[in-house]
């Protein structure tokens, strides 16, 4: 890590713009009625290697935006470039979807095969990759999510958190540059939530894969590089977790609330307790208090 060359390279990767949107607008068309405006002028740049969390109330446009990042949806107007390619060109879609893979909320809707190994190999088989290479990549992807031991297991007998890890491995086997996660922990129990968060953070750090994570759980935003808050199809706030969660009142006005510890610290500060700003987790508060 101390090698100046690798250090600089790391910085060079971070400076790269992976996804860039300009005045992105999207309308859902409805029969015989006015269209619904889901996204209304989004200007956002996502840098390669970044861990970006998107929060916002139900219906604010999180899922719609995420679906633009791998060309599942294309803008009604405005532009989006993914890895310098426009999603407006249909011939780019195939490439873009290999570069940016999506994991959805419900793990049961994403599993297609009868063993973990086959499930992770599914995408690669469709690309016509040689069997030897597939085997290598499946093994590598399962190792990244800590599921090597389960390669022969039946996916439907795994826990929810393990199923999500298998879904993530299926994307990783495609060697993407970016992982899109749409409320990946919404249906998981507390341990499953923690496990998926830990694995995704590790992948971001060690494999330098860009992560864009949409969630309703503010605890999952506290370690992000950057947080984007959506409200009614627009970017309402943008900044580091410390900046975003510094003032819960602003969040409350957007029908959101901060992580429990951030809310507590804010109340204690207003009651005159001398706590430094920027405390978001139990660990941070404990080390300040004792």
């Amino acid at each position: 890590m101390d090698n100046p060359i690798t250090k600089d390279m790391g910085r060079a990767i971070l400076a790269q713009e992976l996804i860039c949107t300009r005045r992105l607008r999207f309308e859902y068309q409805r029969k015989q009625r006015d269209p619904v405006v889901a996204l209304n002028g989004i200007d956002l740049t996502v840098h390669a290697g970044e861990f970006l969390v998107i929060i916002g109330p139900n219906g604010s446009g999180k899922s719609t935006l995420l679906k633009h990042f791998n060309a599942l949806l294309v803008p009604t107007s405005g532009d989006i470039l993914v890895d310098r390619l426009s999603t407006a060109e249909e011939r780019n879609h195939w490439y873009i979807r290999q570069r940016c893979g999506m994991v959805f909320e419900n793990p049961d809707n994403q599993i297609v095969a009868s063993t973990v190994e086959e499930d992770v190999a599914f995408g690669l088989e469709n690309l016509g990759i040689p069997a030897v290479e597939i085997r290598r990549r499946v093994k590598e992807a399962l190792a990244m999510v800590g599921m090597e031991k389960f390669s022969q297991h039946a996916p439907h007998l795994l826990s929810g958190g393990q199923k999500q890890c298998v879904a993530i491995a299926g994307i990783l086997a495609m060697r993407p540059v970016c992982l899109l996660l749409d409320e990946p922990t919404a249906m998981l129990d507390p341990c499953g939530k923690k496990e998926v968060s830990r694995i995704v953070k590790k992948i971001n750090r060690e494999e330098k894969i860009t992560v864009i994570w949409a969630t309703h759980f503010m605890e999952e935003a506290v370690t992000a590089d950057r947080v984007v808050v959506l409200s009614e199809g627009r970017i309402a706030m943008e900044g580091s977790p410390q900046e975003i969660f510094a003032n819960p009142e602003e969040l409350h006005a957007l029908k959101l609330e901060g992580p429990p510890i951030a809310e507590l610290v804010w109340q204690l500060r207003t009651e005159g307790m001398a706590l430094p700003p920027g405390i978001l987790t139990v660990d941070e508060l404990v080390s300040v208090l004792c």
Binding site: G56, P57, N58, G59, E105, S159, G160, G161, E183, A186, M187, L188, D189, P190, C191, G192, K194, H216, M218, E219, K255, L256, E257, P260, I261, E263, L264, Q267, L268, E271, M273, A274, L275, V282, D283, L285, V286, V288, L289, C290
Partner: protein, 289 residues
Amino acid sequence: MLIEVLDLSFVYMPGTPFEVKALRNVNMKIKSGQFVGIIGQTGSGKSTLIQHFNGLLQPSEGKVLVDGKEILRNSLALRYLRRRIVLLFQYPEHQLFEETVYEDIALGPKNLGLSGKEVDKRVWDAMRMVELDFSKYKDRPLFDLSGGEMRRVAIAGVLAMQPEVLILDEPAAGMDPEGRRAILGQIRRIHKEKGLTLILVSHNMDEVSRLADSLFVMYEGEIVLSGSPAVIFGGYSRLEQYGLTLPTMTELMHRLKERGCSVRTDVFTASEVRQELLALSRKGDCKSV
């Protein structure tokens, strides 16, 4: 209404290679008017258990008694029982099928053969409980509603049956913070105002610890712990072994105590913790003053 579970065991697909023992010797008692929380990791048997409370599943061994009477297969009493003990599944908005809000909520009461006036009254009252304005929402088409509004219509639909026991499986799953807060506030009010028994299945320890007065912890088909939230979350080393976590505020207090601060560990809400910490800082018992 008293629900008693005696030595209940349940096996899925018995006698096949896929046989799974989902419940093992479960014993529990739920008294009338209680607010009970059932917690446990995925696959611990929560959903299997609650489906026994109104006879959707029948025990492989043991029995379930309601007011002292055993729930039996195919009995007439079972039909009557399901009006009194109502179970709302996860994501209940997927089960709405009428055209308008009113029609969907009225479906149950109409099937009970009630008069139009009585149905009207029940729909109005159910909508009031979930904070949907009657005149504004009654004629709205269901497909026009947001997910959160549809969830509330689904809850109103079961309230209109005027059950004595309401079983909710993750009623706030997938909702934003404000939506969660609203739904849980409504559930608390329903319990208080209607005096019905509430059984809540949840993965959210912060919420369940604040709502329920009694908790059952399930692990691999067994009830491994039971008691008040204060009792359950007091002994936290055991909880991790069952795949659960502490409510955030309780975790904070445990961690402070480990570091030698004299704080209570049986607190769950931010306001209780705030009082504790302010008292602590007044005593000068922590670094920050």
